[in-house]
């Protein structure tokens, strides 16, 4: 799993490329939290366009980041969600706390 970053104002866009499971979650968590604190990120957008697989371990990763970001008044959203991942997000009630958008510009508009 590889992460790609783009910063727009105070919003960090994180693009996942690969498979997110329990095995890859640990490294992703560490890397993400480092980048978030170093770049003084306010809002976070997860771009799932290149996410080839995700199980419920991914929910933990997203909710964990949401908790940190929202404590400091920031917002989190996800874009380019595939059907299968959408099903998992719905089960977990994820859209009660973070919003889903079709693409980057829509997501940035709502930050």
């Amino acid at each position: 799993m590889q992460l790609q970053y783009e910063m727009v104002d105070h919003t960090l866009i994180v693009k996942f490329d690969g498979e997110l499971d329990h095995h890859s979650a640990e490294n992703i968590r560490t890397e993400l939290d480092d980048v978030i604190s170093q770049r003084r990120v306010k809002n976070l957008i997860f771009d799932l366009n290149e996410m080839r697989f995700m199980d419920s371990s991914g929910i933990g990763v997203i909710i964990g980041r949401y908790k940190n970001i929202s404590k400091l008044g920031g917002k989190v959203s996800v874009i380019h969600v595939t059907d299968s991942i959408d099903k998992i997000f719905n089960l977990a009630g994820l859209y009660n706390i973070i919003s889903k958008h079709n693409n980057k510009s829509e997501a940035l508009n709502c930050m």
Binding site: E19, D21, H22, H23, A25, R29, F53, D55, S56, S57, I59, G60, V61, I63, G64, D83, S84, K87, I88, L91, A92
Partner: protein
């Protein structure tokens, strides 16, 4: 259950084997001529059950995880077993959002995902003995014939 084809795999409870287990089951299921959605469903369910054996069943120790697959007509039966800790209260464990490991950022959604993505699921568990998850998926693609 009678079957047309059978395989059983066992591997160390190491997290790098989670992806391996998904590939093995998906590859075995390919003879059922599955849709991409069906393959994603079983990969996700297998990933949940195998991950649970690794992190909850064996925790910090290493043991063996076993995955058995039987094909019968258009049905795939998948059995995932460990000889780890076991589950004290299966009913509680299967509740959405219940997790015994919130500190590891577990979401407690594993069982709910398995239930949603598969057609049948049964859980047998005994404390200190281990856990067995039996799941069945019916493949649509072969129904048409």
């Amino acid at each position: 259950m009678e079957y047309n084809n059978y395989m059983k795999i066992e591997f160390d409870s190491k997290s790098q084997n989670e992806a391996f287990a998904r590939v093995v089951v998906a590859s075995f299921a390919s003879q059922l001529d599955p849709t991409i959605e069906e393959i994603t469903d079983i990969k996700t369910a297998v990933s949940e059950a195998v991950t649970n054996s690794i992190i909850h069943g064996y925790e910090s120790s290493t043991g063996l995880v076993t995955v058995t697959c039987k094909i019968n007509g258009n049905k795939l039966e998948i059995i995932i077993e460990d000889e780890g800790q076991g589950i004290d209260n299966v009913e509680e464990a299967m509740q959405p959002l219940f997790t015994s490991k919130p500190q590891l950022e577990r979401s407690g959604m594993g069982f709910t995902v398995m239930e949603t993505f598969m057609d049948e699921i049964e859980v047998y568990s005994e404390l200190k003995k281990g856990t067995t998850i039996r799941m069945v998926k019916k493949f649509k693609s072969l129904n048409v014939e």
